[in-house]
Amino acid sequence: MSTPARGRRQRREPSKFPYYIVLVLLALFAVGPLVVLIFNSLKTNAEIGRNPLGPPTSPVFENFATAWTQGDFATTLVNSTILTTGTIVGVCVIAGTAAYAMARLDLPGTNAVLLYLFVASALPFQLFIVPLFFLWSTLQLTNTLYGLIVIYWAIFSPFATLLLRSYLVALPRGFEDAARVDGANELQVLTRVVLPLSWPGFLTIALVSGLGAWNEFFFAITFIQDQNLKPVTTSFLAFQSNFSRDWGLTSAASLIIILPVLVLFLGLQRRFINGLTAGGLKG
């Protein structure tokens, strides 16, 4: 709401130009290589072998259709959507409540919990997979999407909690105390005051854990055997054969996998920006 005014004021300052030069250079560094990915998604594998960087000589648009069917994306996209949604919702609840308790409710032993969380996020998970599989097998959670979601909750929530806590610590406390004076309980303070104020933080942890679940391969391949339950990361396997990989199809497939994430990220961008100001206005 207040942006137009601010925008006008800033545009009058002439000295932003060097900023844009640096920003454009950084942007080129970030996405330049992706042009290669797009080129390669339109090449045959043999062409990539001899021309790995340049534009395709005759674009093979069928790569996308072939990748779609061979990779069985109709199935894997659905599974990954379920996994990702479940992970995001769970991680936001788990990390949100925990971070709030640590940052705001003077949780006794916060230091110990922090230590535990950091150590938990510092365990190489390749190590505990065998005992975990045994446990999951006993609980009959192997080969199910919800079993995998619970694992994702556990592995993504320490990082998310720590991240969210670092945001909450920096937020002014005034609004919450005002709400408490008005008789709100802690859950109400969290959902009605802290949540709107810390939208960017929540969106960031949603993004991080969601991406984590979307791109996760190690646990997925270990815990899911049913072909009908496999996630998108296993779709890449379809393009691999005897010591070689069809990079044309792999590139096309990776664009298919990136697309939903980008659309979502673009959609959430507005909330990122408006989150703080909107929360501030409401308060």
Binding site: V130, T222, S244
Partner: protein
Amino acid sequence: MHAHISRRQFLARGGKAALGVGLAGSLLSGCGGGGGGGGQVTYWSNLEGSGPQAYFKKSIEKPFEKANGGTDLKVTFQPPDEMDRLVRTALQGGEGPDIIMTPGPAYAQEYIDANLFAELDDYSSEYKWEDKLLGWALDLGRYEDKLYAIPYQLQTMLLYYNKTLFEDKGMAPPKNRDELEAMAEELQGQGITPFAAGIGDDPAAIEWFPTVFWNHYSGPDALYQALTGEIPFSDPIFVEAIDLFNSYVQKGWFGGSQEKFFSNGFDALHADLGDGKAGTNVEGSWFLATINDYFENSGDAWDWAPLPPLRSGVPAELYELGIGSTLSVNGRAENAEGAAAFIDYLVADKKRAAEWMAAVPSAFNAPLPFSESDFPSSMDERVARQLAALSQATNQGNFGYTAWTFWPSKSDVYIQEEMQKVLTGDITAAEFCRGLDEQFTEERKEGAVPKIIKPGGAA
């Protein structure tokens, strides 16, 4: 029927899986059930690529289910790189498929020691595997005289060459070390990489080269002696082979330069061969599955030749023997009978195996005594020639040993890791061989070396 199954389950869970399997097997055949017998059989396959997977579902899975009324084969395609880790994790957690694939006899042995595999002798007599499969292959699956594993995916190392390029230059595939070195110098002089090679995509693939040089320089007899503990791997004959390979790499013959050898990826080096930027490629028979793709662009022709002897006294035509996987029945399988029936269906039928090998060239070679006439006309002549040559070699004794099949697992990993250090100059060939000898001796004492079949005379 129901009674049989529950009895089998009871016995299998009682710990004496082998007894249960044997009993149930005889009971079922007593019923005249033939193979299979209903129920579900789970199988994790390392088959890659959607084309081959579709072929498997259509031409193997469906007909098998039809032929064994009521048996439901449930296949999961697992990535080969991950397969062994997944199998280990699942078995340790009390799960895992009914049919278990391992990456070779040395790996299978560990599962057998942990009592995880069912004994297969009863099935072997039921399905007459002794008559159908190659004798040495069955021997490789035996531990303490009991059969636990069926070797599968036979492989060997070959010298692929760009035939068009060779004809243009008036060259022929080398028949000995002098010819090989002359060829390499000639090609390099013309700006062509003699051997398209690189381990950028899979550093472990470096083991192909010590394998080739030990077999074709040191020779299969020396290897047999070393593998059975008669002579050490530090023997000069093995050191010289490594030195020879190293000198070729340092000359830039393999992949263009030492550093490029470390970074070249498979697609790039295969494209080089197809485009005539490289003259030859030393690789396993699995490359037959995809080689045509790389020659499409140039329209060049390709062929393969046996790798030449690099020292006098080594057989002129020698095929090192590799086994890509073994098949076993899970000791906890509820439908062990069905699992064995599927192994028989997949491996032991000559006609079906030949069709399968024609459809997915050289990736899933069954250990059967083939001759060229056994293969369907749809099979590429060069593929048929290779399969027959390997099959005959194992019968006639002109075979050698691949590191990933006959060396125990830690020695194999040692080769993969330390061989790199020889090429970078961090250690000498002699140090490399000495270290291998220590590792190998230790594992041999632990009984981790698989059965070594004797080369030379007919089996």
